[in-house]
Symmetry: C2
Subunit: 326 residues, 2 copies
């Protein structure tokens, strides 16, 4: 592997000058710039980012901690983060906590060791006090922690409310809200509360709530809770699912029981992930502007790296994507 020194020798220049070209500092003539760049090509020079990171006290990597990767929602989040990061020449260092706070804390330490430029935290339960003075900004995605440096969220309360209005507006009166218990910790809560608040304002509407184990973020199997509920209670005529995954499984289970969607039961999902469009009927769902949220996260970290100020809390709107299940 060629080094800066090799390039300097090859180009007949000093390391100082070559470094100037590399970092766009000070005065350089076009001629010299070209000369250096050609020397780099000839030697197949690739700057050693480790050495660079050591000098400047941080790398160009951004840590990302997710509770799960194969869950379609987080896969979408990750995909958007990747795109946003690479557009600004940052790389992603990926961690999956499986929702375990011990793992989260370990990964925060690993990020520390790697002197990341920042950390996007999509996972729930890092203990208070563990996120301060890390030497890089921590941005939470879809949640807010006092302990973090910034939070990027969307209006989950409004999402729940939209879902309730949609179902009630379509004539549903016996509603079910089924979601992961603390699925994404706080956000799911807000969804539920928004949903229930709107329901409460309609005196002729009944609501039941089913909370599913957070473990299902990993195994993605909500059928047990779903079946238990449907076995024990008369079928609702409107269901708000806390995620599209839950929504799809609900559709499948209703179909097995001979219930038709949307004629007998209407469903609203949450997240608007790609599988919401892979069934017949397609799933009506609450859309989060995940791409914009991801870009905001990365943007915040880049701003922090440049010593610019950034918003401590950003909230995006959600919208209802009406499809075939309502």
């Amino acid at each position: 592997m060629a080094t800066l020194k090799d390039v300097a020798r090859e180009a007949g220049l000093s390391v100082g000058t070559v470094s100037r070209v590399l970092n766009n500092r000070g005065y350089i003539s076009e001629e010299t710039r070209n000369c250096v760049q050609e020397a780099m090509k000839r030697l197949h020079y690739e700057p050693n980012e480790m050495a660079r990171a050591l000098s400047k006290k941080h790398s160009t990597m951004i840590g990302v901690i997710l509770p799960s990767i194969s869950h379609p929602y987080f896969a979408k989040v990750l995909s958007c983060l990747e795109r946003a990061a690479h557009a600004r020449n940052y790389e992603l260092l990926l961690f999956c906590s499986q929702g375990k706070s011990a793992r989260e804390e370990e990964y925060v330490r690993v990020c520390c060791s790697n002197r990341v430029a920042g950390l996007v935290l999509c996972s729930g339960g890092v203990k208070t006090g563990k996120l301060r003075n890390l030497g890089f900004p921590v941005v939470t995605f879809e949640r807010f922690l006092n302990d973090a440096d910034a939070g990027v969220e969307c209006d989950n309360y409004e999402g729940g409310a939209l879902a309730a209005r949609e179902l009630i507006g379509a004539g549903c009166r016996r509603l079910l809200c089924i979601s992961g218990e603390g699925e994404v910790s706080m956000p799911a809560d807000a969804r539920k509360v928004g949903f229930l608040d709107v329901c409460a304002s309609h005196t002729d509407v009944e609501v039941q709530v089913v909370l599913c184990s957070p473990e299902h973020l990993e195994d993605l199997n909500y059928y047990p809770e779903l079946r238990a509920f449907l076995d024990a209670s008369p079928a609702p005529d409107g269901i708000f699912a806390g995620s599209d995954v839950i929504g799809l499984q609900t559709m499948a289970e209703l179909s097995r029981r001979g219930l038709r969607v949307p004629q007998d039961v209407k469903i609203v999902g949450y997240d608007d992930v790609n599988l919401a469009q892979m069934t017949n009927p397609q799933l009506t769902t609450i859309h989060q502007p995940v791409r914009e949220m991801a870009e905001e996260c990365i943007s915040i970290i880049v701003k922090a790296a440049n010593n610019e100020s950034y918003p401590a809390r950003t909230m995006f709107h959600v919208t209802l994507e009406k499809r075939g299940t309502t």
Copy 2:
């Protein structure tokens, strides 16, 4: 941030000794080891991995290049890679090529710059010659490149054959094979060939083939090709889909056209991702041992880092997961 030197001072020892503890080299007494570890705790010391990587000529990061992240198959692959890597104390540096070879090559260079311990390449078209002498091993996932140092695959030919036997055995005679064109470049091809070979051995079986644009790996929308085919031809009675995503969309589209699965048309998917179980009926599919394959990839890179020898080519079996669509 505390440094090694700080720890040494705090513990009243020399940097040499502290480094010995950190790297388990030479002679250290239990007493000293504890003393050092306590000093580290007191100072909240986190070793600077950048400095370490600079000294030892490589980091503990493993690069991963995928064509897409939100595609459920690659999300699953990534999830397994993450787990396997962290089990061995490696981190994942993530890149998404979107199937563009220019991006792939750029990301290979970035991996170079970051002196990764190895690279897992799940994406298709790096030009010959670009993968040699990088200073770290390149392992291809689900494909074989002469240029790479190792390949981990599964028997896609057999997968296609299994699908054909399943459909034909269930009585289907007018078959359709619909898959991404070079969906994952070579692998999809082998699937198709395996499928067609078995079909060809049955004189009473007709087969048609629809190839979809590789762009759909990103947008996951195979409906246009699907509709075009179903509009133009009489419906087949058995369909082999090159991925579960295609399989699900096929089911949805058939359902829209009033065709019943599995009564009128039977379907076999590929990949066995979680969404294969989120519909009614659940999708019969070809299962790849993705977890084992991912572990093998990581294992190869770890072996290479320890100067142990490793297999140049590993192939796993696939199995048919019979569910409700056949």
